[in-house]
């Protein structure tokens, strides 16, 4: 079952701490887009505070919408907008309510249909987005790896768009493992990018530390808790604490704050951690590609910015003689254009209906990848 998707889709994203609005043509061409990050707002509190995030979305989304509509006007396509897509999950429920409320109201006012869209589907559909000749390359069938601070998932998408979850993390997300190991080494949370920068400073040729890659029962599942714990042990050893001594764990963070890990050891531990995480991701992607002949590799999520990961995945794809698509970084992190792309594909491939905005849509904090919209 497939449907005719609206040509010009206005898309709204507000699942976490980025407010975003975009206008996307045919699920591919980005006409206009705006993203407002709440990072500065949350930095003082050390994280995304759901209540504050929802309020910030409420303040920012109308301005972003106005700017995107202005740009659409200049491009001469404002009156051509024929559908509204909005992230309906997964995410923080308060944030989702603000986004779906705004999208529903605007669609109702214009008499346009509404498309409830999965944030996770958005991340892999970002590989279809293009603007001024940049981006694109996504095609089906595909194996998709989505890696971010909050998500780690490996999925297959058939030629007809059928999605199947192949593996996910049983404990920490890949980005979270980066962030937590960074904190052990004295970098502020979230410090995944800083950890990677530290790791890049490892001197070539020297003895390298190795961290274990956790085995999981489901061969395509991930576990990053063990890498984190092993990094903690190395950090304790580096400051002269016996990690196996009773009670060592009781004061792990305090001990590392009082006695920071020496610079050279920090670099070696960071490099070992990055190698282990990248190797674990690459190994499962390799297995997934072998099980899906003819599938290309699509990578999404904020951790796709990591240089060694991009290199390792490119190597895996090349060895398997597959194409690889990694969107530009602003489409790897949370954005609304990817929601426009996902909504178009979901309608086209028969997984989503055009909804009546007067009936509203119910956002869902949890939305299992590959399932149809929660009711």
């Amino acid at each position: 079952m497939s449907g005719t998707a609206p040509e010009y889709i206005l898309a709204v994203e507000s699942s976490c701490d980025e407010s975003a609005v975009a206008l996307v043509q045919n699920g591919r061409e980005v006409i206009a887009e705006r993203v407002a990050s709440q990072t500065a707002l949350h930095a003082t509190a050390g994280g995304v505070i759901p209540e504050a995030a929802a309020r910030a979305h409420h303040e920012q989304l109308p301005h972003l919408l106005d700017e995107v509509l202005d740009e659409a006007e200049k491009a001469g396509v404002r009156e051509k907008i024929s559908g509204v897509a909005v992230t309906a999950g997964p995410g923080l429920i308060g944030s989702l309510i603000v986004g779906t409320g705004l999208a529903s109201a605007w669609a109702w006012g214009r008499g346009l249909p509404l498309i409830a869209t999965s944030h996770l589907e958005g991340h892999f559909r970002a590989a279809w987005l293009t603007r001024s000749g940049v981006g694109g390359g996504g095609r089906l069938p595909a194996v998709a790896l989505i890696v971010s601070g909050g998500h780690t998932l490996l999925a297959s998408i058939s030629a007809s768009g059928e999605q199947k979850l192949l593996g996910t993390t049983i404990d920490d997300a890949a980005g979270e493992a980066f962030d937590k190991i960074a904190r052990l080494l004295g970098l502020p949370y979230p410090g995944g990018a800083a950890l990677s920068a530290l790791a890049a400073g490892e001197k070539p040729g020297g003895a390298r530390l190795a961290l274990p890659i956790a085995q999981t029962r489901g061969s395509l599942d991930f576990s990053f808790s063990g890498v984190k714990t092993a990094a903690a042990r190395l950090a304790l050893e580096a400051i002269g604490v016996d990690p196996s001594a009773p009670g060592r764990a009781a004061a792990l963070q305090r001990q590392l704050e009082e006695r920071p890990v020496p610079p050279e050891a920090r670099v070696r531990i960071a490099a070992a951690a990055e190698r282990a995480i990248v190797a674990a991701l690459a190994a499962r992607v390799r297995t997934a590609l072998e099980a899906h002949p003819g599938a290309m590799l699509i990578v999404g999520g904020g951790v796709a910015a990591n240089g060694p990961l991009r290199a390792a995945l490119t190597e895996v794809a090349t060895a398997a003689q597959r194409e690889i698509a990694i969107p530009p970084i602003h489409w790897c992190t949370d954005n609304a254009a990817m929601i426009g792309a996902a909504a178009h594909a979901a309608v086209r491939e028969g997984r989503a209906d055009l909804l009546d905005p007067a009936k509203g849509i119910r956002p869902a904090a949890s939305w299992t990848f590959g399932s149809i919209a929660p009711s």
Partner: protein, 166 residues
């Protein structure tokens, strides 16, 4: 009985403890998971979630702070790690009235000022995990509901004899 200690060897025993605990959970309960980074809080939370038939399965909510799951009871899974000491779970919207309908699992609860000492609530179950990731773990259970703790202890003794100690 105000506390009960269980020694766990391996992931199978962690899953077994999660299953026993889950059987005794009621709407409005909070499960407070204490322990250092790498102690196994998320793994135990995931085991409890699995026994409650959580969909999707629980994983670490550190980055997203709060995840919601359907199951035999609705499940909320919180993590205060990113927020650090002194966070206010009520003002931030992390704890709310909906959670009276289901079970709320909280990692790093001490950052919300919720500790396993002093007067404990009858709907709060504190699980303090110590020990290493690869060897033996010890879990200390505390709650203000002595009857329920005794029931959990009795079931654990009956089903997993030899793996327990007082």
């Amino acid at each position: 009985m105000n506390h009960y200690s269980v020694t766990l060897q391996g992931l199978d025993k962690t899953a077994a403890l999660g299953a026993v605990i889950a059987e005794h959970l009621r709407p409005g309960d909070r499960v407070l998971l204490h322990g250092e980074m790498g102690a196994g809080k998320t793994t135990l939370a995931r085991s409890i979630g699995a026994a409650l038939q959580a969909a999707p399965p629980l994983s670490s909510p550190t980055f997203i702070l709060l995840s919601e799951h359907s199951g035999r009871l609705p499940i909320w899974h919180l993590d205060a790690y990113r927020l650090g000491p002194g966070a206010d779970p009520n003002a931030s919207g992390l704890l709310d009235e909906r959670q009276l309908l289901g079970v709320t699992l909280i990692e790093w609860p001490e950052y919300f000022g919720i500790t396993a000492s002093g007067l404990l609530g009858a709907s709060d179950l504190h699980l303090t995990i110590t020990g290493s990731d690869e060897g033996v773990r010890s879990v200390d259970l505390r709650t203000g509901d002595a009857e329920r703790l005794a029931a959990i202890a009795a079931q654990w003794q009956a089903q997993h004899v030899g793996a327990t100690e007082r």
